[in-house]
Amino acid sequence: MDALINAYFLIKSGQFDLILVAGWEWMSEVDTATTNEFIASASDTDWDFTVGGFYNGYYAALETRHMQLYGETIDDLGRLAVRNRNNAVHNPFSQWRAEHGKGYVTLDDYYKDRIIAWPYRRWNCALISEGACCLLMGSEKAAKRLADNPMWIAGVGLGTDSMRPGDRLADWAYHGVYKADEKRYPVKYGKLKTPYPEMANFGFAREAARQAYAQAGIRNPLKEIDVAELFAPYDGVELCLYEDLMFCPRGEGKTLIREGVVEREGELPCQLSGGLTAFTHPVGATSLLQTLFLHWQLAGLIRKKLGDATLQVKNANKAITTGHGGTGCQGGVIIYSRD
């Protein structure tokens, strides 16, 4: 995500005309528990990692908080896990399909899956992957000269938050900035210095989305965006992002799931690729792969690339993708446009 946004600014500056953005990751050189340990060494090693945490644990704790405040259930997380798998079976590049074949799964199957870090089951968690992706980015002139189906960047945004998630209860950067969201915090769960984002939501995403929407001229993201590939290593992150990306008010993420809005046939289909939990999550290439997938969507190339048009969103013009680091410590938003 950062590489994409950096390339965008470098090209915009006029210094570069074409940039090849390459990303890759190779994550299975050590066993799964050690891989988790290495990934966790990118978290705060003094304040979070020492108590036995690893990302599944930190993110699970964030989701527990959101669940307690806003009442989504394991069923809601299960629906996202099932949807991701049932999308991924139509994506021949997906790790889920390579490992489990083309059959659909159900909520009953989800409940049989093992809990890793409550409230998350294995299916709710990002894959450990190997993968690579290259994207060629260029100026308007270069794109018109070289590309049959260019996809345009309509807006970008970046945001940050505290390294330690526990600091977000007194998160001065967001103090009084999003008052409507602060009001939607149920005070019975403790009066906090800064009720938004605290540990339930992602302030960095809110800030990044605000910038990106302003640049892209988007006022109602749910209506104006046609397809989304969100950086959601855990299903609860996706639910919270609906709120922080302003698809719905804070606390209503669950409603978008229950009403099918984010399903394949819904108003704003999310994670058609299968996402980070069923498509792939080679950390350094994930955002490039999600962007590539959105390019196929906007260019109408899904049937050609996947040999199956099931995942094609008809006449899609605007797409959104997000990036995410640490426990939501920093990240970005990009809005892509076909026209």
Partner: protein
């Protein structure tokens, strides 16, 4: 001399010596290999032709070191059974985990004051861990908690020593020091205060199936512990008894 690092207390030399051996063992040289056949080439895995590959095994042993910086006082405090936070003299925010400077923009990076905090708080949020990083596998199953210490405005990561099916958001806990303390957050743990009942709206307990499924997978975890480390279920349960 100005700019010099002087060692005042040395509890590191033995491990530095001990680790030399691991560093030599874990020296990146190839200790074994396999020849495998696997997919090759670009495109879809299921359509990929096979090729032959050599897979190498090599170890890596490291001893990391870094300073805790100006929050060193907190960790040294843990060793000395002192539980510290910091307080901003301007906006009065109490930080635990501590911050040496207030990050409220209104306070202009004011230096905070160290204060002693009460050994109690409440669970802000938690996760029940049934899998973990390699280093913590033997501790499974455990509850990773973020606890808001009484009087503090932020939440501290700390393990909650309890049966995993009993924890809830808002649970009152007491902070206890472990007998053996090394200068990290594992020197303390949180023990739920006695006489609390689980509130009706607890998200873990909102649904009977949540607890049934958690119990099912706790059994899987006990099996794993027994197989991998020879740890018995009864001994795991003993960990949760108040000490």
């Amino acid at each position: 001399m100005a700019g010099e690092v002087r060692v005042i207390e040395d509890k590191a030399t033995p491990i530095k010596k001990e680790w030399e051996e691991y560093a030599r063992k874990g020296n990146w040289t190839v200790k074994g290999y396999e020849i495998v056949r696997a997919p090759s080439g670009p495109g879809k895995i299921e359509e990929s032709p096979e090729a032959e590959y050599m897979v190498i095994y090599r170890p890596h042993g490291v001893l990391y070191h870094h300073s805790y910086g100006l929050v060193s006082k907190f960790f040294k405090g843990l060793i000395d059974r002192k539980f510290l936070g910091t307080k901003c003299p301007k906006c009065k925010t109490v930080y635990c985990p501590p911050r040496v400077h207030c990050w409220n923009p209104a306070c202009r990076v004011a230096e905070t004051k160290w204060i002693e905090l009460p050994l109690k708080g409440k669970v802000h949020t938690f996760s029940v861990m049934l899998f973990s990083a390699e280093a913590f596998l033997e501790m499974l199953p455990f509850v990773l908690g973020y606890v808001q210490i009484e009087g503090a405005d932020t939440a501290l990561p700390v393990q909650i020593v309890t049966a995993p099916t009993d924890v809830f958001v808002g649970q009152k806990v007491n902070i206890r020091f472990r007998e053996e303390r090394k200068g990290d957050l594992m020197d303390i743990y949180a023990l739920p205060a006695k006489g609390q009942t689980v509130p009706e709206d607890s998200c873990l307990h909102a649904n009977k199936k949540n607890i049934q499924d958690l119990n099912r997978d706790l059994e899987n975890t006990y099996e794993f512990l027994n197989k991998r480390f020879g740890i018995k279920k009864a001994d795991v349960k003993k960990r949760w008894k108040a000490k």
